[in-house]
Symmetry: C2
């Protein structure tokens, strides 16, 4: 395996998470200590920063601030939702990326994101190979959605899951305070995979959580939903429901679709307003007092409830990517292989970017109950180890002390 | 001062908070250790539990579970929104309360709530005096709204304020991740007083928070609001706004009023949907990408972000109420007298229920900026000491371990 000396770029892409910066920290700190890596650049807003020649010189950052990245939610370098064209159709962006790579002698490129980002990573990797530019390209996974293929789980998922479970437990307490009827519907992120909505069941497992959980893996049926809710409401006077934003009817139409029409840069429908809509529907049917709560951005940036396991693994993913690249690996994403029997153990592994890109991993049907309104014990056994551990959060005046980067532009 | 021997009732009323159970714990544990108090009862769902003869025998609770109350959000005994009639018009409820007090030899009544609860407390106290039933009645304050008169602040406010400030800091990180335009509007509780919405400014003070904060103390003007937002958005490409649910036009109409028509038991309009409505209005005007986030119940039950100061003071309020009552005091609410110069000091004091009942304390106009879209430093100086300190939260499997009461009904 050949030694490759040059600078590196780390970019962050897609929706942020509570721990994506822990991965960035893993990349940056490992790269800064690596003799083969001459300079460490952070791309402003992911691949857009490369295209626009906006790179931050990470060597100029205060090490103490870099240490705070693991406790700072959202993408500290800035993110983007930018889809690269098919290079066979239009290679403009790729030629520009190559130009920038040459300008800064970039020999290592680390891209920190989800499905779409691994696709970006894969396309750049293939192009660089085609044009014979010697460069090692590694994907560092992140996504609260947990839908990346080929890995036990994704950094970012566990902290969002912990936020969701904890918030559901607290809302349960609040929603059960009066002796009058109440139906509470909590809307959770997750377009096509129900990993996040399923995490609400951790609250139920812990004693206080939703009676019903609806995942997008099972087609939604409004009549059955109303019957489910009504049965519990009539029996107990309360009903708490967790729904994934991505629940859809058998024909594929999102239940929330009528509510919004906006799409993001990848053409995904932007969902929202589902909880309120379902709550209103329940109200009309049952006459119950209802409340719709959307966890919205809070669930993906709630770093104060991050899982220490998640933070450590996110850092490990970044560190592993750099170490692997320097040792000669390219065109791979860091993934996790985990065992849970006899205590949770998580080990990093590497999988091909082509395998990962654009494939979505869903919750196995057998982990969802037959009625399609809750999860089974294997889901709990899967998710519970991931949310363990509380970080010692740096605070000032009892408020979070987030990293403050200088972001000096490279010349 | 005469010694009075007999049992006591603790009831909780109104909207729950993260620390109302710390006050209940303060009452219960102090009463359990008090020789003059023969038995400690918890009223199921506040005054309704008294009227319905549903009292829990707190002497039968596990002391270890009682210790967990301070970390358990919402009203563990159950709450209500029940308005007692004017006793001169209809004394049915009062005669029933007297009957129950006699049945259980109740000589101490502690009521844990906000404005309306202090009114309830006051009416019962006056009635008992009128009929010559020897009984000491004390109000224990709680309200996230912080609008109780005669006290520096209310237990419950600080923890909600800390939740709001922390969440705003996190959402700020998330809302600034893309290099595309974004207007984020966060809706915060508070019908008539802006203490909670003002707490969002703590986030700004800490470095990452809303650009604009609208409190109900200043009449809302939609045109000025849109001009405020547009000016910041055009300059920076982003704008983050915190609004109180209670913002209203000069004629008193709630800005959110068109959205809902439901009212609670006291005839208060139930507000909500404001953030989304304002976001849509901004979108129409500016074309910006917008997101409306309602903190909803999360802000009043987010015990995992409770202020240790708040927990301690809530407990102190309950303890002080019992100690004062046993020493001969009646017809008072526990309040706080605080100094902030040279370090924060908070001392309990007692004020007459008549003074407190149905008076709302608002944010002083001079603590709000002239433009009515932010708060001034005195607000920060007021609120910051209250949110200090992190409790050591009991957890099981990294999820909250809430108190589990047996709730054995008294016979």
């Amino acid at each position: 395996m050949s030694q490759l000396k040059g600078s590196c770029i780390i970019g962050q892409s897609g929706g942020p998470t509570s721990v994506i910066n822990a991965s960035a920290q893993g990349v940056i700190q490992t790269a800064l200590n690596c003799p083969d890596i001459t300079r460490v650049y952070g791309a402003a807003h992911g691949i857009k920063g490369v295209l626009e020649d906006k790179l931050y010189d990470m060597n100029q950052e205060d090490p103490a601030e870099l240490d705070l990245l693991q406790y700072t939610p959202s993408s500290a370098l800035g993110s983007c939702r930018y889809k690269l064209a098919d290079p066979d159709v239009d290679d403009t962006d790729y030629r520009r990326i190559l130009e920038i790579f040459r300008k800064y002698d970039v020999r290592y490129f680390f891209y920190n994101g989800g499905n779409d980002s691994m696709d970006t990573c894969n396309k750049i990797s293939k192009y660089m190979q085609k044009v014979g530019y010697d460069c090692r390209i590694m994907g560092v996974p992140k996504t609260i959605d947990n839908d990346l293929f080929g890995t036990d789980h994704c950094p970012g998922y566990a902290s969002a899951a912990k936020y969701i479970a904890t918030s559901c437990m607290e809302v349960w307490q609040d929603a059960h305070v009066y002796d009058t009827g109440m139906v509470t519907i909590i809307e959770i992120m997750g377009r096509h995979a129900g990993w996040l909505a399923g995490a609400a069941a951790l609250a139920t497992w812990a004693g206080f959580g939703p009676d019903l959980v609806y995942l997008p893996e099972v087609d939604f049926d409004m009549d059955r939903f109303l019957a489910d809710v009504t049965a519990i409401y009539e029996k107990t006077g309360k009903c708490m429901v967790a729904v994934s934003e991505g629940i859809h009817y058998a024909d594929g139409t999102f239940v929330s679709e009528a509510k919004t029409s906006a799409t993001d840069g990848f053409g995904h429908a932007q969902l929202g307003g589902l909880a309120v809509m379902l709550a209103e529907t329940v109200k009309q049917r049952t006459g119950a007092k209802v409340r719709g709560i959307e966890l919205s951005l809070l669930q993906r940036c709630g770093a104060h409830l991050a899982s220490l396991t998640d933070i450590s693994e996110a850092y490990l993913a970044g560190k592993t990517a750099v170490e692997a690249a320097v040792s000669g690996v390219t065109d791979k994403m860091v993934a996790f292989e985990c065992t849970r029997e006899g205590g949770y153990v998580c080990k990093p592994k590497l999988i091909g970017l082509t395998e990962v890109a654009n494939v979505e991993k869903k919750v196995p049907r057998e982990w969802i109950n037959a009625a399609g309104n809750g999860v089974e014990q294997p889901f709990i056994d899967y998710a519970l180890p991931l949310i363990q551990g509380e970080p010692s959060l740096p605070r000032e005046h009892s408020l979070p002390r987030f990293a403050k980067l200088k972001k000096v532009l490279a010349k």
